[in-house]
Symmetry: C2
Subunit: 323 residues, 2 copies
């Protein structure tokens, strides 16, 4: 049975149809989002036995209690090793054309098995993990129901985790209600913020469409002690030096701190960064010219971003793990 999730889609008023969620999260032909696959993927997502320590699960860092991220500037991993980049949220990653801050995976299926095996994250040997899962009877049943005859493999583990992640979505926001014609759904400040978002602020150039991202990579001129080359490590093109994937703005108040290195704690600091046109001019995105915003305009942009929050954020029940 194909699982359906409610995304707050609908019919927009004139000029706002770009911003409404589609009816469903797309899934590849060979990994349609079935109830059985989501159930398996959810168990795997919450299971610390996926790490070599048997203590760290996907949910440890992609914590549903903290917007499916960890609230830290940069992530921690095996033995509390400190990573160089912030944990990206899982929310709406089912819509992404690239995964990870540097887009090194194209699909969730490919992404999902990365952190499991990274030495500084879950530090797990995939062969050992498959062996461990194969002796848990409950998992054999779940894998067979989800991927009949395919067995437990890196491929089916990745597919199941991806199927679950496609159900991790933002829900209807007050902005969505407004975009569908409810004039009173958001404040005058948020409405002015939306005008600035599309106009003087030029935010929409990168934060475009219903998920408020262009799925592109941009250098925002962040000041770092050790500059992170970002997308350039994956594609050696000069404009991609220090460029990182544009994150969604939906549920953005849940996912502080901000930027790929978590250097800003508040949305106000992020707006200030754009207002001054970034701090490092080398390889800076051409969209990063200073904005000259007034104090009120900066507050309006924050009010607009707050209106993108899910009215009722996704509710998640903790699974009882197979034994």
């Amino acid at each position: 049975m194909i699982l359906t999730v409610t995304l707050g889609s609908g019919v927009a008023v004139a000029g706002k149809s770009d911003y409404l969620m589609p009816d469903a999260v797309p899934a590849p032909k060979d990994n349609q989002t079935t109830v059985e696959r989501v159930q398996l993927g959810k168990a795997l997502f919450f299971d610390p036995r996926l790490s070599s320590s048997n203590w760290i699960s996907c949910a440890t860092c992609h914590n549903p209690a903290l917007g499916w991220s960890d609230g830290l500037a940069t992530a921690l991993g095996h033995e509390m090793h400190k990573l160089a980049r912030a944990t990206p949220t899982i929310l709406n990653t089912g819509f992404n054309k690239f995964q990870f801050w540097d887009g090194r995976a194209r699909t969730l299926e490919e992404q999902a098995v990365g952190p499991i095996q990274a030495a500084g994250e879950m530090n797990q040997d995939m062969g050992e993990l498959i062996g461990e899962l194969n002796i848990i009877d409950g998992y054999k049943v779940l894998f067979e129901a989800a991927y009949p005859g395919e067995g437990i493999s890196e491929e089916t583990i990745g597919k199941a985790l991806a199927a679950f992640q496609r159900t991790v979505v933002t829900t209807e926001s007050t902005f969505d209600l407004w975009a569908k014609g409810d004039e009173g759904a958001i404040s005058p400040s948020a409405k002015r913020g939306f005008e600035l978002f599309e106009g003087k602020g030029r935010c929409v150039i990168c934060h475009s469409g219903f998920n408020f991202t262009d799925d592109g990579f941009h250098n925002l001129g962040l000041k770092e002690d050790v500059p992170d080359m970002g997308r350039y490590n994956i594609r050696k093109v000069a404009v991609l030096r220090g460029a990182f994937k544009t994150p969604t703005l939906r549920d953005v108040t849940l996912t502080a701190p901000y930027m790929h290195n978590g250097m800003y704690n508040t949305l106000e600091e992020v707006v200030d960064h754009y207002d001054r046109g970034g701090d490092v001019k080398e390889h800076l995105s051409p969209n990063m010219e200073p904005l000259g915003l007034t104090q009120q305009e900066r507050a309006d942009l924050v009010a607009f971003m707050e209106s993108l929050d899910s009215i009722e954020p996704l509710s998640t029940t903790i699974p009882h793990l197979p034994q």
Copy 2:
């Protein structure tokens, strides 16, 4: 509003009234289990900001996905430091007269603030934590609703966590149905196991009452490389050398591995241990005489313990943490 939880209580058939759950979990007069206190305590329980690393929450080790324990032989803590004892489950600790394996706390209120401050666990300075919580607006609202006028303190943090933990309970088991008169609710093997539990196995001497524990401390003759003195560290009485608190048997299949040091992976191994009367005779509890069980009898005891599992284990929704 006082929160009520469903415990699978009821009216037992003759001879089984000892084993039925009471109608409610008791709470101290100054910390009645209100909806507001449970809501606050649940947020605190799932909040990794309670640890110095901001990465470890109570739920990291007392993981609802793994029977409110961690599935490890012995616990891990700050920087993945390995602790000497197994993580006890939170389930039904609201009924305990002592908390921790060695009973060093009498109340959940006192227990709850221990692991937060232990260097090898959450490694948090209480003063710093109170300062951090005080600048999270959402927490100020939750504390005021739960403990009006009392503010954020070690005491109110402990009280709120205790209030939440009192809602973490086992639910009705097939054994309970049987004890209430449904003859077909458990297997013939489980019924024979119950006879052995009360008779030849002598299990009931310590695993007594509805929560299957006497709240006492016993030396079971476990073979350890470095003997743990257990309760003796708290009370210098010879019979308490190497004695540990009797754990509940409800939901016991969820909380492997077993014993205070997690040395047995299966209930079969635990039964074998009792059958042979333990391995170390020094300071051994007088109840630990060998049992001389047949293979069938050992299997029956396991079937009985499995009948104590909650039919529908407690369902837990992850809170969205205050910002």
